[in-house]
């Protein structure tokens, strides 16, 4: 398993360990899990090659995730890193590989309304991160062949207790009074509670024989207006929910400007808004889950409301 140090990665590793799988994790810094661990960089081909020796199946989660950054860095880690891993795994006789992707690879600006998992689009995807993930997904699925089953799983907005990505960013902004609702806040958005996402990754490993060659979107199947979601997450985290609105057009313009500025100045901090984020907050993103559930034989265990209760408990 690559990239086991984040909330989502740890959850996947822990789920595999809990059921008695023999797990090796590979990432830059220690994940502090009770299993065999190799610390290394996904772009280091020697480290990657040795890590897949004697392995049956790979879950590839390591990626550079950031609202901004140079195309070169995204491609280096997300595209070439993934391609190198797939090649090494194939050489080492690995039988199945689950690539953890994102619905952003197929988001080209139009609202996703009960959308099915259409093909990744590296040219139209709306951020450098999404473009790199799209290129990588295409490469990974191309590597699928008899004896080497590759499945791409696209969980949408994974969150849960200990989340440093979605929830932490929302809370930080809300605390600073900088969180705004985009438009009416009515865009329907689906999310994935971390335990459900982890279950789906494990299910994809187990069902690789059936699911190989496919990309499958995974979500809770409980879309809500984005204002509802932000409010619930803020309340569960003990901060005041956002009340102020910003029109979608203005938000996109601000995001576009900030992206230019941050990229030009090579700033390392998160910009206050990006075009991608504006679209994520301002347009519908929810998905047809019928095929995913049928193929993976997976159902979300934790409902949105239960997840929010767990988030509040662990505060």
């Amino acid at each position: 398993m690559t990239g086991a140090s984040g909330m989502f990665g740890r959850a996947v590793a822990q789920t595999l360990l809990d059921r008695g799988d023999d797990v090796t994790v590979f990432q830059r810094r220690t994940a502090a899990l009770d299993c065999r661990e190799i610390c290394g960089d996904i772009t280091d081909s020697a480290a990657v090659t040795s890590s897949v020796e004697g392995i049956d199946a790979v879950v590839h989660m390591a990626a550079r995730v950031s609202p901004i950054g140079s195309r070169r860095v995204f491609d280096e880690v997300n595209v070439r890193g993934s391609a190198g891993l797939a090649a090494a795994a194939l050489r080492a006789g690995v039988q199945s590989l689950v690539y953890v992707s994102s619905p952003a690879v197929a988001f080209v600006g139009a609202p996703q309304v009960g959308a099915s998992a259409v093909a990744a689009d590296p040219t139209q995807a709306r951020s450098r991160y999404a473009q790199s993930k799209a290129k990588a997904e295409i490469l990974m699925l191309k590597a699928n062949r008899p004896g080497f089953a590759v499945v791409s799983v696209r969980p949408h907005l994974v969150w849960g207790p200990g989340d440093t990505q979605l929830v932490a960013r929302i809370v930080r902004r809300a605390e600073a009074g900088r969180l705004r609702l985009v438009g009416a806040g009515a865009a329907l958005v689906d999310t994935t509670y971390v335990d459900n996402a982890a279950d789906a990754i494990v299910a994809a490993l187990d069902r690789a024989e059936v699911a190989h060659g496919r990309a499958l979107v995974v979500s809770n199947g409980e879309p809500r207006p984005v204002a509802d979601l932000l409010r619930s997450m803020c309340l569960a985290s003990g901060v005041d929910p956002p009340t102020r609105h910003l029109p979608l057009g203005v938000t996109k313009a601000l995001g576009g400007g900030a992206e230019l500025l941050w990229n030009a100045l090579r700033l390392r901090s998160d910009p206050p808004m990006t075009r991608f984020l504006a679209e994520q907050l301002g347009t519908a993103h929810w998905f047809d889950q019928r095929l995913t559930r049928k193929i993976l034989r997976w159902e979300p265990r934790v409902s949105l409301d239960d997840g929010l209760a767990l988030l509040a408990d662990r505060r």
């Binding site: 806040g185 009515a186 329907l188 207006p225 509802d228 519908a284």
Partner: protein, 865 residues
Amino acid sequence: MISRSQPGHYPPSDLDGWDHTWSRLVSALDADGETRTWHVLDNGVVDPIGTLLCVHGNPTWSYMWRDLASLSTRWRVIAVDALNMGFSERTGGNRRLAGHVADLSAVTTALSIEGPVVTVAHDWGGPISLGWARAHLDQLAGVVLMNTGIARPEGVQIPALIQAVRTRATLRATCVASQVFLRGALRLARPSLSREVHQAYVTPYARPTARAGIGDFVEDIPFAPGRPSFTMLDYIAGSLEHLAETPALLLWGVKDPVFSEAFLSDLHARLPHASVHRYAEAGHLVMEDIKGAPVILDWLETVRSPTSPALASVHPATSSGGGGDDGRRLWAALEDRSNDEEIAVAEMSPDGSTQMSRSVTFAELDQQVKLLADRLVAAGLQPGDRVAPLIPPGIDLVAIVYACWQAGAVVVAADAALGGRGVASALRAARPDYVVADWRGLVFARGLRLGATMLSLKPLPRAVQFTLGVAASLAKPADASPARELGFGPGPADPAAVVFTSGSTGPSKAVVYRHGQLEAQRDALAATYSLSRDDRLVAAFAPFAIFGPALGMSSVVPAMDISSAATLDASAFASAAQAIGATIAFASPAALVNVVATSDGLDKGQRDAMTRLRAVASAGAPISTAALRAVSQNFANADIHTPYGMTEVMPVTDISLEEIDLAGRGDGVCVGRPINGVELAVTRIGALGQSTWEFIGKPGATGEICVLAAHASGGYDRLWAIQNHTRRDGWHRTGDVGHIDRDGRLWVEGRTSHLILSADGPVTPVGIEHRAELVDGVHQAAAVGVGPAGTQQLVLVISTTERSAGVLADPQLTDAVRQAVPFDVAAVLTVRHLPVDRRHNSKIERQRIATWAESVLTGARVSRL
């Protein structure tokens, strides 16, 4: 003409909806003995039942048949691009009708098409396909024709547009040198073609050299003697007499400036046995406009089996012996009372006074009906002719309707409540042979150019009569002595009336009732409401007003604007009741609500008249329990009833206010038990909302409500696809969804088109709305689905008692609604008022609300609902 030849070739592989593996190039000798190549669509079905031989018109090509090719799994689809058209060879010469017919035979011979063939054709393909059919009668299993013609119907001119294009000077410029004709023809699509489909149609005609065939077709239009192809067309038209036994389907887009409805009538007259569907909203390119492939494939099912539902449903249960118990004619009660001086029908004066303005006794009415029947016959009326009376409810309307029935005519009941445009489209759909009207109605009808004989009800000055094109006045004694034989009359299976659905659930549909069915309806009403000749009726609901004389009851028409039910006020209602000492009243909910709202100023006599009513029924649209309760408070001694039914079957069930209270709350609206003679069932609904004919026997199970009754209508008028979908073995599918409880009561949960098609299966809206409306702060609720069918999310759109700040309901209210509803609610949206239909002012327009909610929930700017 440009003479340049080019061999046939393959279409590009990227045409929208086109499978390149269908394309074949077929070589054969043409009519002149030259070897030619045709581009042919062949969907390659192995071991087919038979072949669909599809023939395109001008200026299209076989692309028109792509959906048929992809959907047909049991019939092999062969579609031939004519020479000089589509992707077939450009011969460099001109081709005429006879040549195209011979070419088509050459191609089918080259392809060795054996076994049954159904021809499918559009526009110019019509005559070509029928020419082929004439030469292959042994193989011919059916013909399908769409917006075409084989003869110029009497009185129809070739459209000015075509005339203009056809002159020598303009033909080349519009058809060949430019794409004016090509693009103009494609613009006749209703709705417009998508960019991709449009592109696919023009692809083979990109260059002027490729368009010579388009010009040749226009030049060859043979609708006049002396044209080169007139003889051939005339021969083909004459050959239709060989098709008397051949199944035929006519699909017609009405909004076609070229092949107008007159061409449909002409073809229908030549193929009277044909199944016909007239699409009021579609245009010339009907195959595109209506996505015709599934309709054709459904029809083919009926061609194969002689015991098909479509054939069975044309002659429902009533054909075996009629509907009424004793088979009493509709006018029997009137004849029984032919010496009776009691008031049969009264009209109230419109000035608001409590006086009757006119009345007739049963004896007078009986005389009047017989007289009018004689005069109709004298005016040329034949049994089976359709008569549209454009007369407000009252004595004259009653008299003319019964006269029509006695004379064997079919009454076209285009109710003024449909509105001017609704009446116009209803009349166009029903094609009356006669219009009977006062001068206002005659002016209106004249503007519609119906081709009907115009009869005035009252004498008109000669000049006016001439100006309006009125053939005769029914007020004048006929010149000739009555030709009508006594004892002659229509039988129970003969059509009696064409009535129209409200159009609130889609375009208004024409429904045909036979005499037996109306007799059964009369008897059903009598039994349900224990009606006898001792009852006297306030007829404020038009359809039942006609039944007064049939039931032998006195009836009174209150003063109101009949195009708007809500104009009936308490005083007008009570005065009418008082005038005849009424015991029964039928009115629409909107009328009753207004009667309740204006009941304060009634005098004692009026109040007493209201108290004397023993039953009041609200009919025509759903009414809320609260409104019904308010009605009951104004009628101290009346049972308050409301029947459930639809234009096609009325009534189906009936329920009283007491029974509503007894039933309590449940998932849906309780509409009571089936009336005597009605059988009820629900059928399973598929995961994507599809109808099935699988009956569910289990009580409480939700499905589509189906009705079997002797008083159900005979079916739809020239709406084959709807007829085929809604009728089977005499059962009528209502389009309503609901369940039958353990006590045999029917609960209506919504319309099939309003189901929320979630991933867990279809969910019905009404029960959810009732639960949401119990939440504090919610005034009215609509439950709708957003997203693609099969994965829809449930959304509640509510109007609130207090104004809401934004489009999203506030969090507390949202939580409360979620708590109240036993399904996952994705969002709760608020609006000031939920839109309701204009006609009934009561049916929530869920489809419109769903479209709006889906837009809001994509994050788009919030528009007004």
